[in-house]
Amino acid sequence: MRGIGGPLALLSIWALTTVPAGFSVYILRTIFTERWPGSAAGAAVESLPGTLLIWLAVTAAFTAWGCAQSWRRA
């Protein structure tokens, strides 16, 4: 944590990744609604819990990826 400047810095980095993660969720949802309309996987992705889960997972992945270099250096 100290490698990136503490919990507030981590929160800032996480906030920065929310918009690109939102793009990923939008693209995933569009793929499922356009290509596989009515499928079970599509319904799961389109549901609110599914959307939120994917969005949280992607923000976490982007945050870890964005901080990886600083963590390695620390």
């Binding site: 920065l16 690109p20 793009f23 793929i31 356009e34 600083s70």
Partner: protein
């Protein structure tokens, strides 16, 4: 003309449409990578590969609303024939090449719309214009750069506020990576919006020639071919315009590049979702200006912006005039050939 002759003509125009798409990639895809190159996140070679991949990947993710708008929402599809499409493409390609040569980031999309309008009006008069569709497109001509500018400025303010606590050694690599994501998103948006314009042109051509039956739709092979053409065009690059976009409007740091790409991608996604054909060039230029203006208003070279605005104003009329002239030429040539074919048996008898 025989059925085989019609088919050959249609195939030739489809190839010309794909060539337009290739030139569009060559001309416009520079927008996708200008900020990544300007901030030295990727070398130009890697940047074009990155953008081309996501241009093609857009074939698998987005709907076909923009293709439908181009195919049915610009001029009445019932009056469209091979000559109209040929003339529209000639007008758009001519204007694209002129602006590419002079390094002016004009809009391929508006060149295509201008070409369609010019050729359609030359054939059947002003009544063929689908007023509602053209009004919507015209509104977005103004809206897309302004939206890009506003979102770019808001993103830059938010990012500055969020990162003022971050150490420079943490922020720099973070933004370099995030810029890869935002450039990918912008390339997806570019592929989704721009390749669909060519799809719309090819689909309306096939529809008018009777190859699609009674319902207008976009066949899958058209989707894949259009995305492949724009991706290959991107690979070829458009360095003159990259230079204008990347360094002459304003100087960018990785955080600024990230904000500009993100703002422009959000605008493109919204427009594609609504089925509006917008200019990727307008959008990213507005976003870069928005980001630059947050630093200070004098950081933006507004003179370059003004030159670009002139290109925007001229694009639709210029492409339209060339398309109308091409239509009359092609039509006169076809009529001349028809008369010659009718006279020839009598002369030889």
């Amino acid at each position: 003309m025989t059925v085989d002759g019609t088919l050959i003509f249609v195939v030739a125009i489809v190839l010309l449409a794909l060539a337009f798409d290739y030139i569009n990639g060559f001309h416009d895809a520079a927008n996708s990578i200008a900020t990544v190159v300007a901030t030295r996140v990727l070398s130009p070679g890697r940047a074009v590969l990155w953008a081309a991949f996501f241009n093609f990947a857009a074939a698998f993710g987005f709907g076909l609303h923009v293709a439908n708008t181009i195919g049915k929402g610009t001029i009445d599809p019932k009056i469209v024939d091979n000559h109209v499409i040929l003339a529209a493409l000639a007008g758009a390609i001519f204007w694209d090449l002129v602006t590419w040569y002079w390094g002016i980031p004009s809009s391929s999309s508006h060149a295509l719309i201008g070409g369609l309008l010019g050729a359609g009006i030359a054939k059947a008069g002003i009544s063929v214009v689908v007023v509602a569709g053209v009004q919507r497109t015209a509104t977005w001509i103004v809206l897309s750069p302004l939206l890009g500018l506003a979102l770019g400025a808001v993103a830059m303010v938010a990012v500055s506020w969020l990162t003022h606590r971050l150490d420079r050694r943490v922020a720099e690599p973070l933004f370099r990576r995030l810029q890869l994501v935002s450039a990918a998103a912008f390339s997806l948006g570019h592929g989704a919006n721009d390749a669909q314009k060519t799809m719309g042109i090819i689909a309306v051509l096939l529809f008018s020639a009777g190859y699609l039956g009674s319902d207008f739709y976009v066949p899958l092979w058209v989707v894949l071919a259009a995305h492949a053409a724009i991706g290959l065009g991107t690979l070829a690059g458009g360095w003159r315009i990259i230079h204008t976009m990347a360094t002459r409007i304003t100087q960018l740091a990785p955080a600024g590049g990230y904000c500009a790409e993100t703002a422009a991608a959000a605008t493109l996604f919204g427009a594609s979702h609504l089925g509006v054909p917008v200019s990727t060039t307008h959008t990213i230029t507005g976003a870069i200006m928005g980001v630059g203006s947050v630093r200070r208003l004098s950081a933006v070279r507004w003179g370059v912006g003004a030159r670009i605005v002139w290109a925007w104003v001229l694009t639709i009329p210029a492409a339209g005039v060339v398309a109308a002239a091409t239509y009359w030429l092609v039509h006169a040539a076809a009529e001349g050939l028809g008369m010659l074919a009718a006279l020839l048996p009598r002369l030889t008898a």
